[in-house]
């Protein structure tokens, strides 16, 4: 019997990352723009999805994968608001979605009918940050009521996200939200992500946000056409 010290160097979450890559390939091949919606509880994730669908109108068919610890109340809400399809994932206490859960949900989602899929993660600004699901866009949704120091307290999600949607902008005066502080902190972490200021309650900013989404979806559709021309048998 002998003791050996063996060098390995392996990413601990490689298994999740590989599953996420497979999901991303499925979304892209189907011409679907997938967004991983990450926010604290109460920031307005479901409201954002509902109001975005209304702002998109007939420009995009939206599907939703709802991640919750328990229950299906949000799935019922988005279907009532006009989602073309929705699938519920109950994590049973897990604080974040993982790529394997989304992979199973994709089998139940009618991908042929959809243009944009929102994956509503569990309400949590920490854990979901570290698990890729296969989205092309990681969306960080803070709200003014949570305070302007959110990027200081939870830097990682602001650092790795592709777009920031700041909700409850109608409350900005009431909650003493310091816009300059917020933008400075965000830009130190992430110089590139576009920031949309919106209010799901008043509808402010939703048209610009929906327009941006439509453009991103057109890019994915173009990528899907190129892919399908290269290897038509994959479709």
């Amino acid at each position: 019997m002998s003791v050996q010290h063996v060098k390995i160097v392996k990413n601990v979450l490689a298994g999740n990352d590989q599953a996420a890559e497979r999901n991303r390939a499925r979304f892209t091949a189907a011409g679907i723009l997938a967004l991983n919606v990450i926010a604290a509880p109460g920031a307005g994730k479901t409201s954002l999805i509902v109001k975005t669908m209304a702002a998109l109108g007939d420009r995009a068919r939206v599907g939703v994968i709802e991640g919750d610890i328990a229950g299906s109340i949000d799935t019922e809400k988005v279907l009532a608001a006009g989602a073309w399809d929705a699938v519920q994932i109950n994590t049973g206490g897990n604080c974040h979605l993982e790529a394997g859960m989304v992979q199973r949900a994709l089998d139940d989602l009618n991908l042929d009918r959809l243009d944009i899929v929102f994956i509503e993660n569990v309400g949590n600004l920490v854990c979901p940050t570290h698990w890729a699901l296969g989205e092309q866009i990681k969306l960080c949704l803070p709200s003014t009521a949570e305070g302007h120091d959110k990027p200081i307290k939870y830097p990682e999600i602001f650092a790795v996200c592709d777009v920031i949607v700041l909700n409850k902008i109608d409350l900005i005066e009431l909650v003493d939200f310091d816009r300059d502080f917020f933008y400075k902190a965000v830009r130190a972490l992430n110089p590139r992500a576009p920031i949309f200021e919106i209010s799901c309650r008043t509808g402010a900013g939703l048209a610009a946000w929906a327009g941006w989404l439509v453009d991103r979806h057109l890019e994915i559709e173009a990528a899907a056409r190129r892919l399908n021309q290269l290897s038509p048998h994959i479709v």
Partner: protein, 114 residues
């Protein structure tokens, strides 16, 4: 609180490697966990111990080497660790840019009994 999920991926990887190496037992796992990976060491060891009963990794110790979040200040051309509650350069007050440091979550090596 995502340590239980991470422990489960960690165990899969370590068991796989240990079997390939013909190990009888895994004594220790040496991890590099960046500050930005959000791992609480005690929670990771606790979760890992819950999962490893009757596996090759039962009783294995997880040693964590921490790496840290870092910013670069262009005007000063220096790297700095942020102060609590402030990401700006401590020398000149400019908004710095986050570097890639402190994001790792890697198994660096394992100690096994063969």
């Amino acid at each position: 609180m995502h340590e239980l999920s991470i422990a489960s991926y960690l165990l899969d990887s370590v068991e796989d490697q240990a079997r390939q190496l013909g190990a009888q037992r895994v004594l220790a796992i040496n991890l590099v966990a960046g500050e930005r990976a959000g791992i609480v060491d005690e929670a990771l060891q606790f979760s890992f111990d819950l999962l490893t009963a009757e596996t090759l990794a039962e009783g294995a110790r997880i040693n964590v080497r921490r790496t840290f979040m870092c910013f670069h200040c262009a005007p000063c051309d220096c790297e700095y660790s942020p102060k609590v509650g402030d990401f700006n350069c401590p020398n000149c007050g400019a908004v710095g840019q986050l570097t890639a440091d402190g994001t790792e979550l890697l198994i660096e090596s394992i100690e096994i009994e063969t």
